[in-house]
Amino acid sequence: MSRKTTAKESEERPKHWVSYPRFLWRSLALATDGSWAFYAWMTGLTAIALVGANAWAGQVSSGMGVTGMSDHVSWGLYIANFTFAVGLAAGGVMMVIPAYLYHDDEMHDVVIVGELLAIAALIVSLGFVVADLGRPDRFWHLLPGIGRFNWPISMLTWDVVVLNGYLLLNLHICGYLLYMRFLGRKPNPKWYVPFVFLSVIWAISVHTVTAFLYSGLGGRPFWNSALLAPRFLASAFVTGPAFIVLALQVVRRTTSFRVPEGPIQTLLKIMRVTVLVNLFMAGAEVFTEFYTGSSHVAAARYLYIGLHGKTALVPWIWTGLAFNVFAAIVLHTPKLVAKRPLLNLALVLVFSGVWIEKGMGLIIPGFVPSTMHELVEYYPTLTEWKVTAGLWAVGMMVFTIALKVALPIFGGEVGAGERSWKRDDAPDSDPEPAPAE
């Protein structure tokens, strides 16, 4: 992204061609300097990522027969994780909305965490798409202009557009704000506020389009439901805030960055609503399927109680639901919320619960029973688990490094003149941002 500025500005201030490389250089130093704990963490993640890369390479060379997928269940763990990661990326917006739309100043101070999470999660989700391709060497066929991009007919092309667009938007917003803070300058609202508003709409669209990928398929009744997109959003707004609340606490413990309590409370408030909405929609879906009792119920039956003795998903989905219910209870009991370890446990559980419910619990029943009502089950192989772990490790690395660079700059510890950032000219005291067009 270009970080342009007006000619007048650049006359009186150091030139960007001097200060921007310096910004990058300082960022690199920030990204690679750290405590032993940091090095240990990054080394561990690198090791997992390498195991994943190796498993993926094996899959490319010997074919996708090394996965547990088949012509009956032709998508599996990769697409499940892809869907979940898109939700996580969209969930970051739950910090952006209070910070910019409702001018929550404390949220404004930490909103970058949400935006960086979106970047990391998008990289993970795009990674899962590539991992799922039978012919990653032909990836260029997807490039508009060079390949043949079946837009606007194919929903998958829409997804490629919105995911990459959202990635660029967030890269621009984070990059611009950090660079300005680095220079010790006040960010010009013109250069980021419209993009922030766009990113709010865009966040909704990435997850909606991802839901349309599935709900647009008439031959798969389990997915062919208008409720899919709203459900996706509700669960995204559970996982995003849950992850951020956990991440903020880690930041508070391991860095000198000031994490106020306000944003954490706001996010918990949001989750109190979304976790219930998510459970409500799950309930509505279960009722419609089971009460109607038509042949459409087969997939839901397979998921919740098993079909003709095939029950691979049953323990998973009930575990996922139990996690969601547990979190809902904790979040709605102020006495329990006050117990931080318990609250954190609830956040971890609800995160895993949605991972089950929206990952495997959504993708696999679309294929079991198959379109011709055959029952073939799916079990991911070790290769798939390795690739999956590897991609999440990459995501955690991206997120860690991004935070390591962003927080000292954002907190004013590091800047062009190495002078400390004065809080009172921070952009939270910006004039009213112009409404987006």
């Binding site: 690198t46 060379s61 074919g63 088949s70 032909r138 798969r220 009502h373």
Partner: protein
């Protein structure tokens, strides 16, 4: 050495080590790309190939088949004819479920021998029910069984195909004679089409097909029965290498009961037209609006 320098050195060593480990980890990818020719990598979409390009591509594919499978084959590019719209009908009253059509498909289309792949699946259905859930495609007993009827299912060559709509790279499309084809050299293997097809008609090459040189059918075409590469999707093409040159599909010729009727829907004297006009025909899952070109009927 100062602490700063030592730190720099360590960082550099760490980065180098990481890069080396990464190169090692993805080594198998290079084994795969070593078998790919640059021409294959850069090949354009089938519909963008000039006649000259196409000749080169076909020659290259023939040479590759020779190299990898040890067989001399002819791969042609056979275009649809004007005034032809193919249709297929199947008589459920006479089909006995012998699966000879599926076997003929297996042989004709150079399917993978290990998985015994075929584009046709025959379902054994309960008399008095059209519930697919009561159907069974994996039966293993003498046929026909009392109280059962048999329903072979293959690509329905839909007129409103959900599969082509979803393909992100236009690697699959409907030709003007109604046959839905795949450019196996353009497909990226995302399997979205496989999820979209309501008839379980598509197959993915989870591994490179295995087939011995003697068993290979050398009469091949680019869009149909040439040996498919690993990692791409394939499907029934109504044997277009046969039917576009006036022959009948392999599955029809193999059927011992004459249950299968194939022909040009635009030809008023064709048998398929007679069936459509005189029998009570139906299509599978009509409510989905895919508009199949594959019709079923009962005699009585």
């Amino acid at each position: 050495m100062s602490a700063l320098n030592r730190r720099r050195l360590l960082k550099g060593a760490g980065a180098t080590l990481g890069a080396l480990a990464f190169a090692k980890a993805i080594e198998p990818v290079f084994e795969f790309t070593a078998n790919l020719s640059g021409d294959e990598f850069l090949q354009k979409h089938y519909r963008e190939l000039s006649p000259d390009d196409l000749r080169t591509v076909l020659a290259r594919l023939e040479a590759e088949t020779k190299e990898k499978y040890g067989a001399d084959v002819t791969i042609r590019d056979i275009r649809p004819q004007d005034g032809v719209q193919f249709g297929y009908a199947l008589n459920l009253s006479t089909c006995i479920g012998c699966r000879r059509c599926a076997e003929a498909c297996h042989v004709e289309n150079n399917h993978d021998r290990k998985t015994h792949q075929s584009y046709i699946r025959v379902f054994e259905m309960q008399q008095g029910s059209f519930d697919m859930e009561q159907g069974d495609a994996t039966y293993d007993h003498p046929v026909p069984q009392p109280g059962r009827y048999y329903m072979p299912v293959q690509c329905q060559q839909c007129d409103n195909p959900p599969c082509t709509k979803v393909c992100p790279v236009e690697a699959t499309w409907k030709e003007k004679d109604g046959i839905v084809v795949v450019d196996y050299n353009w497909c990226i293997g995302c399997r979205y089409c496989e999820a979209a097809c309501p008839y379980h008609a598509r197959r993915f090459n989870w591994e490179a097909p295995e087939i011995s040189a003697e068993e290979i059918n050398p009469n091949q075409s680019y869009l149909s029965n040439r040996i498919r590469p690993q990692g791409v999707v394939e499907k029934c093409t109504f044997c277009l290498h046969r039917t576009r040159t006036g022959a009948l599909p392999a599955c029809l010729e193999a059927c011992p009961t004459g249950a299968r009727v194939f022909g040009n829907l635009l030809d008023p004297d064709s048998e398929i037209r007679w069936v459509l006009e005189n029998k009570r025909v139906f299509v599978l899952k009509e409510e989905l609006g895919a508009r199949p070109r594959f019709f079923y009927f009962f005699d009585v």
